[in-house]
């Protein structure tokens, strides 16, 4: 009894302690709170089932995020079986994240993040939200370190472009008003 209960107890504690972080990550990836909750539940179930496979307990977090990533990929594959998701975009026109944002900057950032391809979004969120190292992200997503680096760079460049494009119309209007004055 001890064998399973100890591994299970450790996994349950870590999963419970980090549930909000898992939800935040799933929500950042998919943009849908209901789906995010579903993914987290699925991930927690799988983590408990596989907890005896964890070789190094200090690697629990990357290991569990890897399972969350796999749950997300499985969901995407069920939706579109023949698509390369790393470069695919999930654009949600009426998902709650749009109406949820009230401030302009927040909305702009949210929209810009929403436009990122899935692969770039996953890398950026793991680094910026959870503070994982590039090495850990490579491990979680099972991609080379070089790919992590290039995705971070491309994601931030895309974000900057999107944000500046959103700011431009407003700035143009201000200039026009000034010229009338």
């Amino acid at each position: 009894m001890f064998n399973f209960s100890l591994a299970g107890r450790f996994a349950r504690k870590k999963l419970a302690d980090n549930r909000d972080n898992y939800f935040r990550m799933a929500y950042a990836w998919c943009g849908d709170p209901a789906l995010a909750d579903d993914l987290v539940q699925e991930m927690m179930l799988k983590s408990l089932e596989k907890s005896h496979q964890l070789k190094n307990i200090s690697r629990f977090l990357p290991w569990s995020y890897q399972i969350l990533h796999n749950c997300w990929l499985s969901h995407l594959r069920a939706q579109k079986p023949n698509v390369d998701f790393d470069e695919e975009m999930v654009i949600c026109e009426d998902c709650p994240e749009r109406s949820y944002q009230t401030d302009m900057i927040g909305q702009a950032v949210h929209l810009a993040i929403g436009k990122l391809p899935i692969g770039q979004k996953q890398v950026l969120m793991l680094i910026d939200l959870e503070g994982f190292s590039y090495k850990e992200v490579a491990e979680i997503l099972t991609i080379p370190m070089g790919t992590v680096m290039s995705r971070v760079s491309r994601a931030r460049t895309s974000l900057e472009k999107s944000l500046s494009a959103m700011r431009e119309p407003a700035e143009t209007n201000i200039r026009k008003l000034r010229s009338i004055k």
């Binding site: 100890l6 939800f23 929500y27 789906l35 909750d37 539940q41 005896h52 900057i105 969120m125």
Partner: protein, 238 residues
């Protein structure tokens, strides 16, 4: 200005993400000081990083997940499977051993015949840490707690030995330290040891060390580990 040109955008991303070693960080900082454009670029990246993080706060402002009808039955099904799985696992799995180090560690201290009925088990486990990595410190504390709180391991003896960077485990003011103190107060079968050599070395370097009083400091980590292993303790490095 010329220094700034040797700092690529990719290197700046590594810098803002804390991926550079001390020497590289120093080089980037020096370049940033001398190049206004580079400084602006680094600020932009830091700002972007902060904007992203700010958009996904924990708890307070996240929308409450609302389960659409299509998901609720799935969630219930998962809960049911989890419940049944747990019951079955407990029922059939109580004598099964796996290859997991955590399990092996737990097994290692088990003595006597565990064939049929769960028996009170005795054992001696030595946990060793020599790294200041916060995730490792936290893992050690969580693991120790899980071991101590397991109902079937009441006769277990656990000692935690820290040296090198692992000494941080006993430094006052750390979150993990406080938890470890609570565990020590709650469980008399937990003892803490800090390496005497590591303490001397840090003090020689002028580093102020405020260790919790629960940590014994009379011996070196190596001596302690060797002695315990000779006495048949199970050793596990975090």
């Amino acid at each position: 200005m010329t220094t700034g040109k040797s700092i690529s955008d990719a290197l700046l991303h590594l810098y803002v993400d804390g991926e550079l070693d001390a020497a590289e960080t120093k080089r980037v900082l020096r370049a940033i000081e001398q190049d206004r454009d580079l400084k602006n670029r680094a600020c932009q990246l830091q700002h972007l990083k902060a904007l992203v993080k700010n958009q996904y706060p924990l708890k307070e402002t996240l929308p409450t997940p609302q389960q659409p009808a299509g998901y609720s039955w799935q969630a219930r099904a998962i809960s049911l499977v989890l419940l049944c799985g747990g019951v079955l696992l407990g029922w059939f799995g109580h004598n099964v051993s796996s290859g997991n180090p955590m399990t092996r560690l737990a097994d290692a201290s088990a003595s006597g015949n565990r064939a049929n009925l769960p028996q009170p088990q005795t054992g001696k486990i030595l946990l060793h840490i020599d790294d200041s990595d916060q995730s490792k410190l936290q893992a050690l504390v969580d693991y120790t707690e899980a071991l101590l709180q397991d109902g079937n391991r009441r006769n277990l003896k656990i000692e935690v030995v820290a040296n090198a960077g692992g000494i941080n485990l006993y430094r006052t003011g750390q979150g993990t330290t406080q938890k470890l103190q609570e565990l020590t107060n709650e469980f008399s079968n937990l003892e803490l040891f800090a390496c005497a050599n590591a303490i001397s070395r840090l003090r020689e370097k002028g580093i102020q060390l405020d260790l919790i009083p629960e940590a014994h400091t009379g011996t070196t980590a190596l001596e302690h580990i060797v002695r315990r292993m000779q006495e048949g303790w199970r050793y596990h490095k975090i």
